[in-house]
């Protein structure tokens, strides 16, 4: 079933290290002591019922959510929330959002150039060259001068991926990247993500696309009730879940 063989083997090096992650919103505990390591070149998909804390966990990795307790290291660097530290760390953690979040007042190319210029200090020529290469890669070279408002959702999301890649990230975080898309546009975004995986990018993906999880992920992590209910290779988690929570979730998924 799985064609994982197409992407490079997972490395030894731990890129994202999460230790005893606790996240509370007021009195609600959303994440209750999660341990998770993501290795070099590994594609980890986070699945689970809504409210399980998948997106929250992902957003903790780059500090968009502050953890209440625990420890996070990205590429060997401990996450600290001081402005300078977190900006340095975020510069190399790519993030793709459900709502694309392209800057509407900038052209596609400007979207891809702005952080390269402002954060990495690249020259305009350098940033543009990188942008052209990446737009080529996501099949949107002809849209460099367009504004996001004139693109389809699928095109916007591909630009958002290119914008994140321009920063040469060590890991890419995808927060339900296809959930806001019309069904016929999902494929083009997943194709780009699959290519990235095949090239050995380390990825954490929150998704409801089970086929993507099955075919591309090295590991599926099923979150439920603030903890990891189940994890392992796709076939194991999807075909023979060992936990009660995992079984119920997958049954509900199949019945819809």
């Amino acid at each position: 079933m799985s064609d994982n063989a197409t992407h490079p083997p997972v490395g030894e090096e731990v890129i994202v290290h999460m230790e005893n992650i606790v996240k509370r919103f007021g009195r609600t505990t959303v994440l209750d002591g999660i341990d998770l390591d993501v290795h070099q070149g590994e594609v980890v998909t986070l699945i689970g019922p809504s409210g399980a804390g998948k997106s929250t966990l992902l957003r903790c990795v780059n500090g968009l959510e502050r953890i209440s307790d625990g420890r996070i290291e990205v590429d060997g660097q401990r996450l600290s929330y001081s402005e300078a530290d977190i900006n340095r760390l975020r510069a190399h953690i790519g993030m793709v959002f459900q709502q694309f979040n392209l800057f509407p007042h900038m052209t596609v190319m400007e979207n891809i150039m702005v952080a390269q210029r402002e954060v990495l200090g690249r020259s305009a020529d350098e940033a543009r060259e990188r942008g052209e290469t990446l737009l080529e890669r996501v099949g949107l070279a002809h849209k460099a001068k367009a504004y996001p408002g004139n693109l389809s959702g699928g095109q916007q999301q591909r630009v958002a991926i290119a914008r994140a890649l321009a920063m040469d990230p060590t890991v890419m975080l995808f927060d339900e990247p296809t959930s806001a898309l019309d069904p016929e546009l999902v494929g083009e975004v997943l194709d780009v993500m699959r290519t990235l995986a095949d090239e050995g990018m380390t990825m954490m993906v929150v998704t409801h696309e089970m086929r993507f999880a099955r075919n591309v992920a090295d590991r599926i992590v099923l979150l439920a009730d603030g903890g990891i209910a189940e994890q392992g290779p796709p076939e194991q988690v999807l075909d023979s879940p060992s936990s009660e929570r995992g079984r119920t979730f997958l049954e509900e998924l199949l019945n819809h």
Binding site: N62, L64, E83, N87, R88, L89, R90, A91, H92, I93, M95, F97, Q99, N101, L102, F103, P104, H105, M106, V114, A115, E118, V119, A146, Y147, P148, G149, N150, A160, R163, A164, M167
Partner: protein, 222 residues
């Protein structure tokens, strides 16, 4: 209404000069009001409760009292501390008044910027300051421009109240004209024309700016 056009022409030099005063007065006031308004809006959006409270009180007082009262208080009140020329007393009063409204406009503009865009900028490693400069401020400016334009128009017209502390701006000039010609109706119609021309010019300027800043809202040229 005898000889409207003759009187209009006869008084044109005086009114042109007074227009210049009105324009300088409003421009000085609005410049100060933008700086003050930006400061007050920053207080209003601050996470520090006391600063927020200061902004709320300031805006409440300014919006809760008539402009003419504020002009008189600043003109006569400040006289105890410092003697300001009528021009600066008037400009200061107009600035004070407009800063509260402008603060609210700026605040609403920033709050209209989707949170996701700020997160996207921050997730790319952009600092708070760079996010403000490259994302929040440009987008806030685009949404507030029409509303700011509206406030500027109100400010131009409100500047007529400064005539009551002895400034010979447009409105005072029409009062002088009414007194010396015994034709109040003509005088006030003449001054209305001058205000209208100024306001229309300002409206055109704002529309032009709006158009320039809205390239992203237009459909792509094929």
């Amino acid at each position: 209404m005898d000889g409207f056009f003759e009187l209009f022409a006869e008084y044109a030099p005086l009114f042109l000069e007074a227009s210049w005063v009105t324009l300088r007065l409003t421009a000085a006031a609005l410049l100060m009001a933008m700086v003050g308004g930006a400061l007050v809006s920053a207080l209003a959006m601050s996470r520090v409760r006391i600063l927020k409270w200061i902004a709320t009180v300031y805006i409440g007082i300014v919006r809760g009292t008539p402009l003419i009262t504020q002009i008189f208080i600043i003109y006569f009140g400040l006289a105890y501390i410092i003697t300001l020329p009528a021009f600066w007393a008037g400009a200061l009063a107009l600035a004070f008044h407009n800063s509260a409204y402008i603060a609210e406009i700026i605040r609403s503009g920033f709050q209209a910027v989707p949170k996701g865009l700020v997160e996207a900028a921050r997730s790319l490693g952009m600092s708070r300051a760079k996010t403000l400069k490259r994302v929040q401020a440009p987008l806030a400016l685009r949404t507030t421009l029409p509303v700011l334009g509206n406030q500027y128009i109100i400010a131009v017209k409100d500047s007529s109240l400064v005539s009551f502390i002895g400034m010979t701006e447009l409105f005072q000039t029409s009062r002088n004209m009414a007194a010396s010609t015994y034709q109040p109706l003509t005088a006030y119609i003449v001054v209305a024309v001058y205000y209208l021309v100024i306001v229309l010019a300002l409206t055109a300027l704002v529309s032009w700016l709006e158009h320039r800043l809205s390239a992203h809202r237009r459909p792509a040229a094929a």
